[in-house]
Symmetry: C2
Subunit: 688 residues, 2 copies
């Protein structure tokens, strides 16, 4: 049936660009078209996929049987599968499992129990065979079953015959054993419901590590029974009780996801020092940090009371978190408090520690001993790669892939996060092209390469709230998840974007809020007025990249994040598509002209609306410039059509204007500016 849709969509595409359909749907429409009759849009792409003939219809008679090894986690997984299918298809299913496998539509066969505490060694492989008659999912362990269930669910789509899954044979297993998402819940606290729905999303794209950044300068987020002042004075009341932590761990385990806690030290620890200032390297009192950046407060590595405290604290937390790894942070210590403290200076001299780096190494060594004493292995940011670090440690490379290669050469395991920072607002393509085995690591020996366990995306929380965080994680996270799961040669960007659009749509059915929160935030900006025109502007913008927002105005943790820049998705699908259209103005002139006209004319309604909203007034220059850019593009098309080059003075003026229009305003960028510039360049060369 996909073929019959092809023509419709090709026709629809240009129209849709000009009107205001959800971006997602447009891209997905292309996906359906471009995949021709197979219509298989999976992300991550399975290791081996062989399309079959026909389709398994899914209707109210759908039944699931569990065979082989049984455990409650599998039964719960089967129950969730049925609920998810109900959400996807709008069909209620009999939620009693079928005991006679010959009568089931989907037979799940699990061979044996998985690990009691899931580790990097867990077998996650599975085989899924779908025929027009039924489907068989088999896996060695329950975690493999969980992975296969997600693949099965994503195969289910609606066509002209009904809901169903295409006949297919899939043999699948992950490329890397460690595939994570780090969520910073310190800078902006994220309630359990937000964490859990993102864990659902992680499971959907086959991630397996939830790295919980629980402590930083701006907040300490776990109940400690041993040291209650940590949360009482360091959290503003926003912390997880130990019962909630256990709930999240159980929730994640049910979805085949490990939970690795991080308590960042010796820096990034202001919030811990609020309750226990005597452990700091300078005289207190300390107060919860409200700004973003790198700050001075730090544990005092020369104070034995610090290690007494950490022994008890790590012991308590090691008991709470079952994972074999314990993240000790270790990043961004500026050493100022150490330099300014004569006692610390004296200690360094006495122990032959030449600089603050050496002192941090000493601290790390002591902390690592405590972590190991409590039965855990250490993971830390790449600063922990210091002499004396035990070989069991995992180095998390955030400053660049070189530290990953260096760690592997030195015999450490490592994971890559450099290139996977979701908060930097880079396009999915950019993250997708970062491979833990390329660049600095490419020349490692096979043994060294084997020490590269995978990677983790990082969602630092300076500029996200519980409301907006999904819009920053999804759908780009899925592209990184594919990089870490799928074979190294799965790297075609067009295919990735097509499948990403389909997956982003599918993630709606899982409960992620990236689309609904975006729509809601735009509605808020326009109060009771139509969002149509604002959507059109928003759809060609992106937030500024990297750390540009931190310098743009004085932000604190109390600054409302309710402006357009907080709503606009990190990546403009419309701009990306327009860039492709504009690359061939000859072939696509009609579509380009229609789109540019709509953008040019949008301003008339939009600007007065923006002026009536206190939150949108700052964005008026963007609306003006998008309109002017579109007008420039239309003029360029006229020159191109004329067959004569555009006058130099016009070209110069336009290029100056475009250069101005490319500059950020209100922390937003106009992403169609480069494509307009290309049209101007083409106009300059017209007829030559």
């Amino acid at each position: 049936m996909r073929l019959s849709v092809f023509n419709v969509l090709a026709f629809a595409c240009a129209l849709v660009l000009a009107t205001h359909a959800p971006l997602l749907a447009q891209d997905a429409g292309q996906a359906a078209a471009s995949n021709g009759s197979s219509g298989i849009n999976l992300m991550p792409q399975p290791t081996e996929l062989t399309p079959g003939q026909g389709r398994l219809l899914i209707d109210g008679s759908f039944r699931v049987a569990l065979t082989g090894y049984q455990e409650p986690r599998l039964q719960r997984a089967a129950g969730r599968l049925l609920q998810r299918l109900t959400k996807q298809a709008g069909i209620s299913f009999n939620d009693q499992l079928e005991t006679d496998a010959s009568k089931a539509t989907l037979v799940i066969a699990c061979e044996r129990a998985g690990e009691v505490v899931q580790s990097v060694k867990e077998d996650e492989s599975y085989t899924l065979e779908v025929t027009p008659q039924n489907a068989h999912l088999s896996a060695t362990t329950p975690v493999g079953v969980l992975r296969g269930i997600e693949t099965f669910l994503e195969l289910v789509t609606l066509d002209d015959k009904g809901f169903g899954a295409p006949a297919v044979t899939i043999h699948d297993h992950p490329r890397f054993a460690w595939r994570g998402l780090m969520m910073d819940v310190s800078r902006h606290f994220m309630p359990v419901s937000v964490v859990e729905r993102n864990i659902d999303g992680m499971a959907a794209v086959k991630l397996n590590v939830f790295h919980w950044h629980l402590s930083d300068n701006q907040g300490f987020r776990v109940e400690s029974k041993r040291f209650p002042k940590l949360q009482q004075l360091g959290s503003d009341g926003y912390y997880y009780t130990q019962a909630q932590v256990k709930e999240v761990i159980d929730y994640a385990r049910d979805r085949g996801i490990r939970v690795v806690p991080e308590f960042d030290m010796p820096g990034h620890s202001t919030a811990m020092l609020v309750g226990y200032p005597e452990l700091g390297s300078a005289a207190g009192p300390y107060s919860i940090e409200r700004h973003w950046g790198i700050f001075d407060p730090s544990f005092d590595p020369t104070n034995e009371a610090v290690y007494t405290f950490l022994d008890a604290f790590i012991g308590e937390m090691a008991g709470l978190f079952p994972d074999e790894y314990f993240h000790i942070g270790g990043d961004e210590v500026n050493g100022k408090q150490w330099k300014n403290n004569p006692q610390i200076q004296a200690f360094m001299k006495a122990h032959g520690l030449k600089n603050t780096g050496d002192l941090q190494g000493y601290f790390s060594k002591r902390v690592v001993e405590l972590v190991e004493k409590h039965g855990k292995k250490v993971i830390g940011w790449d600063e922990v790669l210091q002499p004396g670090l035990p070989k069991t440690a995992v180095v998390q490379s955030w400053r660049g892939p070189r530290s990953l290669a260096e760690a592997a050469r030195q015999g450490y395991t490592g994971i890559l996060s450099a290139g996977y920072y979701l908060d930097l607002m880079q396009p999915a393509s950019q993250h997708y092209q970062v491979d833990p085995m390329e660049g600095a690591t490419a020349n490692l020996t096979a043994d060294e390469k084997a020490r590269i366990l995978g990677g983790e995306a990082c969602m630092w929380a300076e500029f996200v709230t519980p409301e907006s965080v999904d819009t920053r994680i999804w759908p780009r996270m899925a592209a990184i998840a594919e990089r870490l799961w799928s074979p190294e040669d799965v790297k075609d960007l067009d295919s990735m974007y097509r499948r990403l659009a389909a997956t982003s749509h599918w993630l709606d059915s899982i409960g992620l809020m990236h689309h609904t929160a975006h729509a809601y935030m735009l509605e808020r900006l326009t109060e009771l007025q139509p969002t149509t025109t604002l959507q059109m502007l928003d759809s060609v913008l992106e937030p500024v990249k990297g750390y540009a927002r931190e310098g743009a105005r004085e932000y604190t943790s109390l600054t409302p994040l309710n402006r357009l820049v907080d709503s606009t998705p990190p990546e403009s699908e419309n701009a990306r598509r327009f860039v492709r259209l504009a690359a061939d103005p000859g072939a696509n002139q009609g579509a380009i002209r229609k789109q540019l006209t709509a953008w040019r004319d949008n301003k008339a309604e939009l600007v007065p609306l923006m002026q009536s909203s206190a939150l949108l007034q700052e964005d008026v220059p963007l609306a003006e410039d998008v309109s002017a850019l579109a007008a420039t593009g239309l003029q360029a098309l006229d020159y191109i059509n004329s067959g004569k080059p555009a006058p130099d003075s016009w070209v110069t003026d336009q290029k100056e204007f475009i250069a101005r229009a490319r500059k950020p305003r209100a922390e937003l960028l106009i992403m169609i500016a480069p494509a307009i510039e290309k049209l101007v360049d083409a106009a300059a060369k017209s007829g030559t």
Copy 2:
């Protein structure tokens, strides 16, 4: 600032009609415009509202103080107020209450405790004064405070200066003491989360009774510890535990809402008889009913074991539900099992019961005695109005207002539900015009009128699921809520629709899913393709009215409710607006033509898309006819412009076509057909 928006919106309106903005936003835009500078859109309309000068700005410094009587319920309410404000404004607030009232932005003063168990006598009045400096909310009881908080929250909007509330003085109290929503959770089970979010919506529009229809032929939905087979065999596993029931009751009490349970008997009781067939009037076994309609199974009024059972069962449930009222149903007993049972016939003869109505009266009397024995007053559907009914009973009139008048004349209290059935898909205006004090009740004496306690909307669940139920309750529920709260003379339909649109938008921020579920269901119908064109069709359709769906095809409780008719809102805002436009083709010709052109041309993209979706194929004739109707409308405009009457043959043909197009297809109606017919009529008379 609203004035400055006026022109924008007047301009935007026609354009928006032609494109695809959310309907809500359009209507709300009109609301903002039409209210001029006051911008006050409250629903229910307060009893007394005096606009002031200026506006209270709401920013991060907003603080709340509680003064006077204190209780945890008030503190929780203040906490929710801050969370709600955060959701509305995207601003995080200090969630510690301000102890110094002089420093608070909003000072809440409560005089005294309310009732231990909220009753119809609860004082719900409040006074709210907003000035540019601060706001004062005062009420006699915590329930009055809750009502005032909702008013305050709905006052908060965004303008060109920021978020704020207009200066205003409000004195408010309800017209009726009983303002309810009945949810049927038997025909389709509704999880606790669905119940709770709808209770949030109820609180927002100042309703105060959640009537929980817990038992019917299709399912028994509460855990009974005394008679566990009720839920074990009568619920398919979908029931509320007693802990969940208590949670819902507490949740409702926190929001000033009573919870009245209903166990429908002696009919509508198949699900109860599945576990206890010996209590039925015919030999068992019984099985859970899967169809809709009126069925034979009924308790046996002549069997003393029935009363022994009900004594214990009502005793258990009376202990679980604290409300003073206990709903015993009593509706739609067809008496067939009674007529066919010789023992029952003999009993009737022996006791002088002339017909099954008398027998039901006998049963009711016995059940009422048991309810009173367990300390409760009875409420029942209007069939319970039989000789011997104690005067403490409440009669719920569902068959028409006459029974309400009759009950009041006989000395009973009563509430009105006839005219408030949300499942019948009537427009908000129709419900709004039903007044408990008009029609049959208008001529009652003052004493009799005082017995009319209010009314309840009913959400019967044949055709709703947890996914879609919000789209059937909201926003129309708010119009009924206003009828029951606001003064009798608040009845202007234009004002109602303007404010309803604003309130519907506001309800999004409360977590109701009427907009998001609608959007999601349309996405599902189109799989990965753009929903734009389907939205345009959907926006001029409505589901068939009354009980027409039951006859349209064979439905069971297992039939998927995932078709277009299940997604389409009960009331088409676009059609309503077009009807107004088309009423004056002279003045609105440009807007009408633009809209008709868009509708006419929509088919080209839409029909192939529909053919590719198994669920949309049945709706293709609707798409074809909307296009053809629009073409007819455009031709009519041409005739009107020509200044000469359209030819008779054309008029005849078009009217025949329109008559066909008005007939339901796929259980949907094209709501613009009458307006097109008016254009044809105008064309027929053109120039004459």
